[in-house]
């Protein structure tokens, strides 16, 4: 079985696949991680995927519109925005408002990708006029620049903080009203595809996803 999943789901879906294989020894789960938009394009072009998990609803809807899903997509997790800084915090960033300081080197996602759209919305809500030095097309590229200490601050997903290890620290953002909702759908008609989607939505699957920092929708 082949599962196409958004890059931000990497570690969580590796755990999910391990658990699922343990419960279903006859199933071999193959994982393909990339940006949601790229995966959607591949599936629309006929890639042999059984399950697709996207980082936002808009990308999933493109695959649905092409008639490539076998069942309607279901939201299975949501992700929050996180502000990360290098562990020694050279820019002395302590709140979101600090990002309006132009001398800070700030990395964000490009507005066209899901994490960038979320960052824009959160900054607009807080009325923070932040001038980003770089707009990355992948949330992990933002994280890398902060991990290396080349950026003073970066806006990533809450679930990416753990991937930064002991090189980054998260700055608390307070209560948030904005989220990215992740839909999952069976792409093929195989029973195992529907079964895996059920597993992701079920108690065991959700527990694994929480352990990686995701929230339930």
């Amino acid at each position: 079985m082949t599962v196409y999943a958004a890059a931000s789901l990497s570690e969580a879906f590796e755990d999910l696949a391990t658990e699922y294989e343990a419960a279903n020894p006859d199933v071999d789960v193959k994982l393909n991680f990339a940006g949601s938009a790229r995966l959607a394009a591949q599936i629309s072009a006929g890639a042999r995927a059984d399950v697709f998990a996207s980082a936002n609803a808009a990308t999933m809807s493109r695959v649905v519109a092409e008639g490539r899903t076998a069942a309607p997509p279901v939201l299975f997790v949501r992700n929050r925005l996180a502000l990360v800084v290098p562990i020694d915090n050279p820019g002395n960033v302590t709140e979101l408002e600090d990002l309006s300081d132009d001398s800070l080197v700030l990395a964000v996602c490009a507005p066209e990708v899901p994490c960038g759209a979320l960052a824009q919305a959160v900054l607009a809500d807080a009325e923070v006029d932040a001038d980003a030095d770089t707009e990355e097309t992948s949330v992990r590229a933002v994280l890398t620049k902060v991990t290396l200490g080349e950026a003073d601050a970066g806006l990533v997903y809450a679930t990416d903080v753990a991937a930064g290890g002991d090189k980054v620290a998260a700055v608390p953002l307070g209560p948030q009203i904005r989220f990215n909702d992740y839909p999952v759908a069976a792409v093929s008609n195989r029973d195992v595809a529907a079964d895996f989607v059920d597993f992701v939505l079920g108690a065991d699957g959700q527990r694994i996803l929480w352990s990686h920092g995701f929230d339930s929708p």
Partner: protein
């Protein structure tokens, strides 16, 4: 072998197998481009290319690639001279290191540039402390450095080949006749070398124009400063806007083709049968 046949005339017919393989090779190289052109939304091409964001990316591309080519020439020419003329022990190693960016994935170059010129890098720390350079992320200077890193080897290898083909007797004759070192360089070496230098500069310019991985890794993606056409194309592609990506790709292919066609007589298909003493002046 009939024995009766004498080798009067060599067989002028091209060997079929070679021609067939050559046609396959052209297909491998050209088919993806044909596929792209076939999917190009020609009717909306003008609109996409006229968008402010596209024009801005084109401007950044032109500025960054020309500056990178200039850096390649200014630093690459002395390097080519050292490699061609000085006999020293570590020369094979130096040459290998110089050519390494040609075969490395550019993203490796981008990461390596961080460890050299980044804020916490070897030289970057000094830049920071002595010259107050805060960061190269999101700056045109950073984009130029990244592009020069990948494109300079193309100039060095071409200029070095040109220097090696140069007949050293011309230079020594000039010295014998009383010309100083500087005069020899200016009146003999550089004019003779001009075709190689032009070819090398153009080639490194074309390579800088197509640079992506080192730029986005090291200099980031900032509109108007580091977002070149390749970066804008990748971004449009990731964002699910394939039409914009295709339109900008056609633009980039067009510009690159023009540059490479300009190179045709110089480097890609040198006219070995005829000396280039009477260059074709017809506008092509």
């Amino acid at each position: 072998m009939t024995g009766r046949r004498t080798a009067k005339e060599p067989n002028r017919r091209p060997p079929i197998a070679v021609v067939v393989m050559a046609v396959i090779a052209v297909a491998v190289l050209a088919l993806p481009l044909v596929g792209l052109l076939q999917r190009t939304p020609w009717s909306s091409l003008g609109t996409t290319l006229g968008e402010a964001a596209t024009l801005e990316a084109l401007r950044v591309s032109v500025v960054v690639s020309l500056l990178a080519a200039a850096v390649s020439v200014v630093l690459g020419l002395p390097l080519a001279w050292v490699l061609a003329r000085l006999d020293f022990k570590g020369r094979p190693l130096v040459r290998a290191v110089v050519l390494l960016p040609m075969v490395l994935p550019p993203v490796v170059g981008g990461i390596a540039l961080f460890f050299a010129l980044g804020r916490r890098g070897l030289v970057g720390r000094a830049l920071h402390n002595w010259f107050g350079v805060d960061t190269l992320i999101g700056t045109t200077a950073g984009a130029v450095i990244a592009a020069a890193f990948v494109s300079m080897p193309f100039f060095v290898i071409t200029a070095e080949a040109g220097l090696r083909q140069l007949d050293p007797r011309l230079e020594s004759a000039a010295s014998t006749l009383g010309a100083g070192r500087w005069t020899v360089l200016r009146r003999i070496t550089l004019p003779l070398l001009a075709p190689s230098l032009a070819a090398g500069a153009t080639l490194s310019w074309a390579r800088a124009l197509g640079e992506f991985g080192a730029t986005i890794t090291f200099a980031g993606n900032h509109p108007g400063r580091t977002r070149t056409l390749p970066l804008a194309i990748a971004q449009a592609n990731e964002a699910g806007r394939p039409e914009a990506a295709i339109a900008m790709s056609v633009l980039l292919i067009g510009v690159s083709l023009l540059i490479l066609i300009g190179l045709r007589h110089r480097w890609i298909a040198p006219r070995s049968s005829r000396p280039e003493s009477s260059p074709e002046t017809s506008p092509s």
